[in-house]
């Protein structure tokens, strides 16, 4: 039996290191990493046990380690020491599809700060969407019921912003978009 403590410590390190690189990883990837480091013998560790006991106790006993559910119910692991919950959420939404990514980011911003989000910002990292993807999403969002809350507002210099009507009213969203795009720069 491998040294449990050693495996355990390495799981923690692998998750933290990957988070420091700005990435999430699955249980599968952790396992591969452990094998790659030669920490697990080829007889291996029973997969079910690994997931259910090792990973779970690692998470329980290290408060910085988190689990987040991605598409198809796959679990992803990260450490809030190096990767924020906000960033992990964005990465998971990114794994799903651009539509979900845009909608959730817009909803969160509209609720939390509150503020609308410029369409252009979705080109930048970590979103990295293309023009086509964004245009397609806009079209779909206008039609599908589950995205009915996502609305558009355009500033005086023509920048498109999105916001969620569940959290921001249209006038407020417009004023905030104008403030972000034009106002703050004109009031240095």
């Amino acid at each position: 039996m491998e040294d449990q403590a050693e495996i355990y410590a390495n799981i923690v390190k692998i998750i933290r290191d990957r988070s420091a690189m700005g990435r999430l990883l699955t249980a599968e990837e952790i396992l591969t990493e452990l094998e790659g480091q030669g920490i697990l013998e080829s007889e291996g560790i029973e997969q079910k046990t690994y997931r259910e006991t090792q990973l779970r106790s690692v998470l329980q006993e290290n408060r910085d380690l988190r689990k987040i559910s991605g598409p198809d119910g796959i679990a992803y692991y990260y450490s809030v020491q190096n990767l924020s919950e906000t960033y992990a959420e964005i990465l998971v939404w990114k794994l799903e599809n651009p539509l979900r990514l845009i909608a959730e980011v817009v909803r969160k911003n509209s609720r939390l700060y509150p503020r609308p989000v410029s369409m252009d910002s979705f080109r930048e990292p970590p979103f990295g969407l293309t023009g086509e993807e964004m245009a397609e999403c806009l079209t779909i969002m206008e039609k599908q019921r589950e995205y009915q809350d996502i609305a558009q507002t355009v500033t005086s210099i023509g920048t498109l912003f999105l916001y969620s009507t569940e959290h921001l009213d249209p006038d407020h969203a417009f004023t905030l978009a104008e403030w972000l795009d034009v106002g703050q720069v004109n009031n240095p």
Binding site: Y87, Y113, R115
Partner: protein, 701 residues
């Protein structure tokens, strides 16, 4: 050994009329006023009669720094310059300008806390301050030269390390819209003409001395590191401007613009700014790039690096290299400045052929900086440019200026957004050539009067951002509702106060801001989400008082009010809390004069009160509420006629603002009806002599 650390110990007094130089003991005479504007207001109160005009020899100009200048406290590179203000209209009143750079530190190392200039030399002179020895020197060879040549020639005499504060042709010609500049790009607005009126071309300072720290070096190191750990980016924005792996929050409006892929493109070789995780104090200088913030992503490729004041890790000035401007305009390819200084040239133009964030806009900035920072022209927080656009496009120039002169300008170039237009306009303003340039150089108030334009037109206009007394607003209701309005009523030029807007723009979610606000000002209701303002309450008044007193405190200690106070931080483990006592911590340790946060705020209140008293005395009225603390009409209107306190408007309500002023006066323990401090308040804050004088003049409520 001096009793206190921090202060250099001497104030330099220069009488240019008599050609006499003397010194005063800082601690003996001015300790209760700390430094900076504190010394400035005290000198003006004691020595300058009501009714004196800015360009009279009897006016004083006081270059004041604080006990923290020249130390390693972050953000201490500020010099406050206090004088009677040339652009204050209809009558001049006391005000201060502020310049960063290296002048403040060098003055301390030379052995001085302040320089008081009075009188007028009978020929152009410059003041040399070299390690405690001050001399008045002949500046006839420098007169007529720009700030750049003046500086270099003085450096040739004093050595390359001397710090030189100089005026350009604008100041020489007594153009009210003029500046003094040190360290290439660091200007103090509004004071150039006062120096010019005294025939004072420049002050060169060189010091090889030290500033004593009273506290132990171990304690000092701890406190400095604490302060550093709380820093955000420029304007104390504490979240990055796009999602970063380490960040829980982000804000597209934040000046924390560093990110992987954003490079100082003109560094040799280029440098990636990367993810500036807040605990990494060796990356603070990469967080801010104001050129990129204001001019768009195109500015990254032109960025050499950040620049700024002594001891400040933030580097809010951006040094740009734009090779194209050399051939195109015959100006140096390298330029640098921040904020409105950076935008000086661009702000004149309504539009550019390639848009507001294109190449031409950047070139206009380069041309603007090159001209304005050499001629020494001031822009009054962009009011010069806003007025220019309105006066042109509304046909006022065409009507007020003689046809021949009007036609001599290349208006086609102006309308097309051609930066070469600036070569026609700016030198004319500096040299008072022609009616158009002369009027613009007077400042808004005097310009309106000269051209018979009712101030009311400016007071109603939403785009001009004019507030009162010839000056614009500076972070008012658009930033912080009633709190911002109160702040903007209090000074005799644009408020120059950022305590409140640094907080409201820090990028944290409104709930986090409200949590911090509860601790700082008593309740979450002290702050609202922008454009979702709610009716007035006492907590907003407390916040306004805090904001004003801290700004005054910073201007006396030598701390940068564009960064402080440091009440929010980027640190999640602190709940994004900063430290409201950091000023009193560093002050106490540097000087050895132990003061709690409240005690130091009381000193600030004394100094702020002196400013109030000076204003009352020189206006000859105690009715500040109706005569001074005025608010322009545009604040109470909305272009879509949305009601105040509805979502999406920054419109304020008249009755609510009356209540706001009531609550503010109450917080200050001033008379509610007149907005004038009471005798009791003056006495409580150690200004009995002020109360006595005002009593004599019938100016106590």
């Amino acid at each position: 050994m001096a009793k206190y650390g921090g202060w250099a110990g001497k104030v330099l007094r220069v009488d240019l009329s008599a050609g006499k130089i003397s010194t005063e003991d800082t601690v003996e005479q001015y300790k209760d006023y700390l430094g900076g504007t504190g010394i400035g207001y005290k000198v003006i109160w004691d020595e300058v009669q009501a009714g004196t005009k800015p360009f009279d020899p009897e006016n004083r100009i006081v270059y004041g720094v604080g006990p923290l200048a020249g130390t390693g406290v972050p953000c201490n590179g500020r010099t406050a310059i206090t004088t009677l203000w040339p652009t204050c209209w209809p009558r001049p009143l006391v005000a201060s300008g502020h310049m960063g750079g290296h002048f403040a530190a060098e003055l301390k190392y030379a052995g001085y806390d302040a320089i008081i200039i009075e009188g007028k030399a009978d020929h152009p002179v410059w003041l040399s301050v070299l390690d405690g020895k001050a001399e008045i020197k002949d500046a006839r060879g420098l007169w007529g030269q720009g700030i750049r040549r003046t500086t270099i020639e003085i450096n040739q005499q004093m050595g390359p390390e001397a710090s030189v504060a100089a005026i350009g042709q604008a100041g020489e010609n007594l153009v009210p819209m003029s500046v003094v500049i040190n360290s290439y790009s660091h200007s103090a607005g509004g004071v150039g003409g006062v120096m010019g009126s005294k025939n004072l071309k420049a002050i060169g300072v060189r010091g090889t001395g030290s500033v004593r720290i009273a506290g132990s070096k171990e304690e000092w190191e701890k406190v400095i590191k604490l302060h550093l750990s709380l820093l955000g980016a420029n304007n104390q924005h504490v979240v990055p401007n796009n999602p970063q792996p380490w960040a829980e929050y982000y804000d597209a409006g934040s000046r924390w613009v560093a990110s992987a892929g954003r490079r100082w493109g003109a560094a040799n070789p280029s440098i990636d700014t990367g993810a500036c995780e807040p605990h990494n104090l060796n990356r603070i200088a990469y967080r801010t790039n104001n050129a990129a913030f204001f001019l768009g992503d195109k500015a990254w490729q032109y960025t050499i690096r950040g620049n700024g004041c002594t001891a400040c890790p933030v580097r809010c000035h951006t040094m740009l290299k734009v090779p194209a401007v050399s051939a195109k305009y015959g100006i140096p390819a390298v330029g640098q400045n921040t904020c409105t200084g950076l935008l000086f040239g661009k702000s004149f133009f309504k539009s550019f052929p390639d848009g507001p964030k294109g190449q031409t806009a950047i070139e206009a900035c380069m041309v603007g900086m090159h001209l304005a920072d050499d001629l020494g022209v001031w822009e009054n927080y962009g009011q010069l440019q806003r007025d220019f656009q309105a006066l042109y496009y509304n046909g006022i120039f065409g009507r007020k200026v003689a046809e021949k002169e009007f036609k001599s300008y290349s208006w086609d170039k102006y309308e097309q957004g051609d930066p070469t237009f600036l070569f026609e306009l700016l030198p004319k303003i500096a040299n008072k050539e022609g009616e158009l340039a002369t009027a613009l150089g007077l400042g808004t108030g005097h310009l309106l009067e000269r051209w018979g334009i009712p101030e009311q037109e400016w007071l109603e206009n939403h785009e001009l951002l004019y507030w009162k007394l010839g000056h614009p607003k500076h972070h008012s209701n658009e930033d912080a509702g009633q709190c911002g309005v109160i702040i903007n009523t209090q000074y005799n030029r644009d408020a120059q106060c950022h305590s409140h807007s640094n907080f409201t723009r820090n990028g944290l979610p409104i709930d986090v801001q409200k949590r911090l606000a509860t601790e700082l000002w008593g309740a979450p209701d002290a702050v609202d989400a922008v454009a979702a303002f709610t009716p007035m309450n006492t907590y907003k008044a407390k916040m306004a008082k805090w904001a004003l007193l801290r700004k005054e405190l910073h201007d006396c200690l030598s701390l940068c009010n564009w960064m402080g106070p440091w009440v929010a931080s980027p640190l999640k483990e602190r709940g994004y809390r900063g430290d409201d006592s950091i000023e009193s911590l560093v002050y106490s340790l540097a000087t050895g004069d132990k003061k709690s946060r409240q005690e130091l705020d009381e000193v600030a209140e004394r100094i702020f009160l002196l400013h109030r008293a000076l204003t009352i005395r020189d206006m000859g009225t105690k009715d500040m509420r109706t005569r001074h603390d005025t608010i322009p009409d545009w604040v109470f209107a909305d272009l879509k006629d949305k009601a105040a306190f509805s979502k999406g408007t920054i419109r304020m309500d008249k009755e609510d603002i009356k209540l706001a002023m009531d609550m503010y006066y109450e917080e200050m323990s001033w008379d509610k009806q007149t907005g004038s401090p009471t005798g009791e308040t003056y006495r409580r804050l150690g200004l009995a002599y002020v109360a006595d004088e005002l009593t004599k003049r019938g100016l106590l409520p």
